[in-house]
Subunit: 148 residues, 2 copies
Amino acid sequence: MRPAKTLERVVPIGTLAERTGVKVETIRYYEQVGLLPEPERSEGNQRRYGRAHVERLAFIKHARDLGFAVESIRTLLRLSDTPGMACDEAHAIAAEHLEEVRDKIARLRSLEAELARIATVCSGGVAASDCAVIEALADHSHCEHHSH
Amino acid sequence: MRPAKTLERVVPIGTLAERTGVKVETIRYYEQVGLLPEPERSEGNQRRYGRAHVERLAFIKHARDLGFAVESIRTLLRLSDTPGMACDEAHAIAAEHLEEVRDKIARLRSLEAELARIATVCSGGVAASDCAVIEALADHSHCEHHSH
DNA sequence: CCTACAACCTGTAGCCACTACAGCTTCAAG
DNA sequence: CTTGAAGCTGTAGTGGCTACAGGTTGTAGG
């Protein structure tokens, strides 16, 4: 009997996928774009991953889950590989991304307000002769805010 | 002397672009995917738009600005062309989109919280030996919330 | 009437971050 | 040794544009 999967040190791509929650195709994609280094291969040319790969892929997944762009992750990985790490740069990337996320939230909130107004008018007791949703889209002057 | 541009009833694509704030290439794209009907052509095969096109494109732009998918806009346009309009369906599309926007906001807020925590720790008075941003990304257990 | 040049035309490729095949080969359990 | 899951490469598709390349047309000034 072989050791349990969670204990094996050298694993095929499917097991790496299970452990990290990243799909097999996505792992190969990350390799292709240079986020994940090319692993060793079996005699039959299949990828064999070690502990370092698991950790690196977990890093990538976490960063992607937080919405970092692949390009930013490339930089963050490079920084984390650097001995005398440039923490300033890592912090700048995180701060910039935080700004982007906040901008996106602000924009979505403005959309939300406008959509809520449109949808509410329509579901409310407006005369059914014309559809309020269609009307609102046809005529921008119905908008309360023109920021969008 | 010709009438001023804003008064002309039949205009080329560039003028339509100016009036609606939609780029020329995007207008051609909308035609290609069937949102905007094919206009008449000049003798030299150039597109000539009338008032109806301006209104339809304004509708499309407004809907896109509100984040509706092209596919939803296709349906909304079909509904608006229908005499006995199915307002229910239009309302359902708007309501569904509002839900999506709210979901997106919720997800982004959770990201924002996590990112703010990471960025703040790093800019705060943490010992400089290891970078908190890199650490946080490397080790998911540092997260307070595991929802993402 | 002619020239110059902006605006137009079609068609194709690129962007991001995957995802989904098609058509093979390899691995491992029974 | 057989079978079937899992692996392999390479390509195309997603959404909603955007950006060319390489040509044609429209129009204002001279």
